[in-house]
């Protein structure tokens, strides 16, 4: 027995970063299970390819940099791999050449982990959400391979994109084709982890109950997204609540708000910062959906919001309190953006 010196404090809370990451993986399981069952197991091929690519890259990275391969690194890598895989459609391997599909998964996952994370120095150092980076690479590089449904060829959001003179009629048609029940349970074409709102909500309840993620950016992303969509509905002349529900249940907004925006590494480190961060992502998602060329843009929106993080965290602007200035700033910004959207969509005429 020796008497040894330490520095205060001498006791620590019984929490570990490993457990927190494991909780995220557990929260992802409902979506994984849904995807597997709904695709008759095809989802497993994509998941396995993604996991193998990411974990192998992490392993090689620790060998090159002579670091220790910790449980935390493995879990973090697994989270990236699973999230990335879940943003892809199972049609990648079920229709067309499975080999090409898996090649797409491999390139996307490799890009996500290597360019998205490892070049910055591994866990805790990356500035962009790695899964979102992988997803964006796949959209940009392999757009033609990404067919969602062999039969209809369009996702729920895709049906809103094709130009038509009468948007109200077009929206009603879309709602007829995709009922809210289908959207909620996920029996629709789309990215395998994003389609089932139910599976995501089950995961989210666990995730936030375990406090493995920060609810602030999620809520702020969903709230700002909803505001812009509601304003757009007013401008388009459709039922705002049906329009909002349709948007919330389709595409990747729920999945992104629960599993991607909450990635702590790429989030700001203050409560107000996270609210601003979620707001940027939410507004951008809505803007891409309404005005953009792509039907969906959660991954783009999150990556753009990531780019604002260093500015949000700039030391001269730090304050941990919700000051009046902050509240006024946030409300004014949202009001101005809503007005621009309303005018831009042709709401006056």
């Amino acid at each position: 027995m020796k008497l040894v010196r330490q520095t205060a404090p001498y006791i620590r809370k019984k929490v570990t970063v490993e457990r927190m990451m494991l909780d995220v993986i557990i929260a992802l399981l409902p979506s994984v299970i849904f995807a597997t069952v709904y695709s008759n197991g095809a989802a497993l091929a994509i998941l396995a390819m993604s996991l193998a690519t990411v974990l192998a890259s992490e392993y090689i990275y620790t060998k090159i940099t002579k670091r220790e391969l910790t449980k935390a690194t493995l879990y973090a890598g697994a989270i990236t791999a699973i999230i990335f895989a879940l943003t892809l459609p199972t049609t990648l391997v079920t229709s067309g050449e499975p080999v090409i599909g898996l090649y797409v998964v491999f390139v996307g996952a490799a890009f996500a982990i290597i360019v998205g994370k490892l070049v910055f120095g591994g866990l805790g150092t990356n500035i962009g959400n790695p899964a979102a980076i992988g997803r964006v690479v796949v959209i940009l590089a392999f757009g033609s391979v990404l067919t969602y449904d062999a039969a209809s060829g369009a996702t729920a959001l895709g049906t809103l994109k094709s130009t038509s003179e009468n948007f109200v009629e077009q929206f009603n048609n879309a709602m007829e084709y995709y009922s809210f029940k289908d959207l909620f349970f996920g029996t629709i074409p789309g990215s395998m982890g994003e389609v089932s709102a139910l599976a995501i909500i089950i995961g989210a309840v666990y995730l936030f109950y375990r406090k493995a993620a920060d609810l602030r950016s999620t809520l702020s992303m969903l709230a700002s997204f909803s505001i812009i969509i509601l304003v757009a509905a007013l401008g388009l002349g459709v039922n705002p609540f049906e329009y909002l529900l349709f948007h919330l249940l389709s595409g990747g907004i729920l999945f992104g708000a629960v599993f991607m925006i909450t990635d702590p590494v790429t989030s700001p480190t203050t409560a107000r910062g996270r609210i601003i961060f979620g707001m940027i992502a939410g507004v951008l998602t809505a803007l891409i959906r309404i005005f953009g060329a792509y039907p969906e843009g959660v991954a783009f929106a999150i990556l753009m919001a990531n780019m604002f993080v260093p500015s949000i965290d700039y030391y001269k602007w730090q304050n941990t309190k919700y000051t009046r200035k902050f509240v006024i700033g946030v409300t004014t910004t949202m009001a101005v953006l809503s007005l621009i959207v309303f005018l831009g969509i042709g709401g006056i005429a």
Binding site: A8, Y10, I11, R12, T16, V17, M20, A76, P264, Y315
Partner: protein
């Protein structure tokens, strides 16, 4: 978990209700000639001289104040010996051999409660000064200087909150010395001509509330009362106490007296009672010896100057002393205390406790920016950003991130999911902007 931590959870197996054990007969006592606040000192007696309890045998010089050294037992001065002080340094100590007679010195003259109340300000302050009374909660700040304030004081608060886990000295004082506490508070309120005197403790201690209700009924007046605060960390921080009890915000860098309030630690107040009414300086104090590294944890009342290894032996020694488990010795609480590597450290006026813990080496992970430290910081700082600025030696950013108001409470390290020792970075950051 990404959350605001307010409670320190610990598995403490400690018999709070057990009566404090009196340990009044150490063979020798050691009285440091210098300490953390006083760099110089002088001894008035010669080797072989006989001393009595309460006798002035030397003086410490702290620059802008001096502090008498009192003998804490009666016996023979057998020379100086280097011993470890709570700061971890070897210092010269006056060594007195106990004659076990506990004879009191002639200079110790008791006064009645009424006599004390009739003292004028100058006499009062002089009496406190000559007693050598300092902040016994651990600050060691000379108490008489607090009485010299020119500000108008409205509220006097006694801090018996003790928010750090493992500690129970304040609890013991409130339970075992309520009459002295109330009477001394009466004297302080009178001295400042304040509107109110409040004893503050944690709301979970219903037994203290019972004891104080009864005591205040008999010995109190309508200016004196008690208040409770919720059980959170750091409830015992003076600023939190003023906020919780009076709803008063004391901005960082402002002295509470400027806002009309003043706080005293409960043990300091009992020390004040001894100094004024009994005429006796601090010769004994409550002392907690606990932690999972000690066999039979207990509260003590000890003579100031007792080496701690005697107390450790009295507690049955270390647990698993023969095994290869290293121990960490902590003076003070487990959140803010100082670590020492010798168990022969001596009990001084300001040492409240010794906690012995089995060594646990935490494996540090990369920061994943979960922001638990930001949410948990009681002063509203952003520890993770201060850490990063400190790593890159960016003094300007550290300053702007307001490291000055950091109280080194240890919450950021405690709550960190990656087990990063953030508080250590806070200390470095403070050095960076000095």
């Amino acid at each position: 978990m990404i959350s605001k931590t307010t409670k320190i959870v610990h598995d403490q197996n400690f018999k709070l209700k057990l009566k404090s054990k009196e340990y009044f007969n150490p063979k020798h006592v050691y009285l440091p000639i210098v300490n953390a606040r006083c760099a110089n000192g002088e001894v008035f007696i010669k080797e072989g001289d006989l001393v009595k309890v309460g006798q002035v045998i030397g003086v410490r010089d702290g620059g802008f104040f001096t502090q008498p050294i009192h003998a804490t037992i009666s016996g023979k001065y057998v020379g100086n010996q280097k011993m470890f002080h709570r700061g971890g340094k070897l210092v010269d100590c006056i060594k007195i051999e106990n004659d076990f007679k506990h004879e009191t010195d002639e200079s110790v003259v008791p006064m009645t409660f009424e006599q004390v109340k009739q003292l004028d300000k100058e006499e009062f302050i002089n009496k406190v000064k000559n007693s050598g009374l300092v902040g016994l909660g651990g600050s060691g700040f000379p108490t008489y200087i607090k009485f010299q304030t020119k500000d108008k004081i409205n509220s006097v608060l006694i801090n018996g909150i003790e928010c750090e886990p493992f500690l129970s000295s304040d609890y013991k004082i409130l339970m075992e010395e309520p009459i002295r506490l109330v009477k001394a508070l009466d004297i302080i309120v009178d001295f400042f001509n304040a509107k109110e005197g409040i004893i503050v403790f944690k709301e979970k201690y219903h037994d203290i509330a019972e004891v104080l209700s009864a005591t205040l009924k008999e010995h109190g007046n309508d200016k004196l009362r008690f208040e409770t605060v919720p059980d959170y960390y750091p409830a015992g921080w003076e600023v939190s106490m003023f906020k919780d009890v009076l709803g008063l915000d004391v901005p960082p860098g402002t002295l509470p007296t400027a806002m009309g309030v003043i706080g005293f630690n409960s043990s300091t107040v009992v020390g004040l009672y001894r100094a004024l009414i009994l005429g006796m300086p601090v010769t004994k104090r409550f002392f907690t010896l606990t932690g999972n590294g000690i066999k039979y944890p207990r509260n003590f009342r000890v003579i100031v100057g007792t080496p701690m290894n005697e107390l450790i032996d009295d507690c049955g020694g270390y647990t698993d002393a023969d095994k290869d488990v290293n121990k960490v010795l902590i003076l003070g609480g487990p959140m803010m205390g100082t670590s020492v590597v010798r168990d022969t450290v001596i009990v001084t006026k300001t040492t409240t406790s010794l906690i012995v813990l089995d060594e646990v080496i935490e494996k540090e992970h990369e920061c994943i920016r979960c922001a638990s430290c930001t949410y948990s910081c009681p002063t509203g700082l952003i520890p993770v950003q201060i850490m990063n600025a400190t790593k890159s030696k960016n003094a300007e950013a550290v300053k702007k991130l307001n490291i000055k108001s950091c109280i080194l409470c240890g919450m950021c390290s405690y709550t960190c999911t990656s087990k990063i020792h953030l508080t250590e970075y806070m200390r470095k950051a403070k050095k960076l902007v000095e």
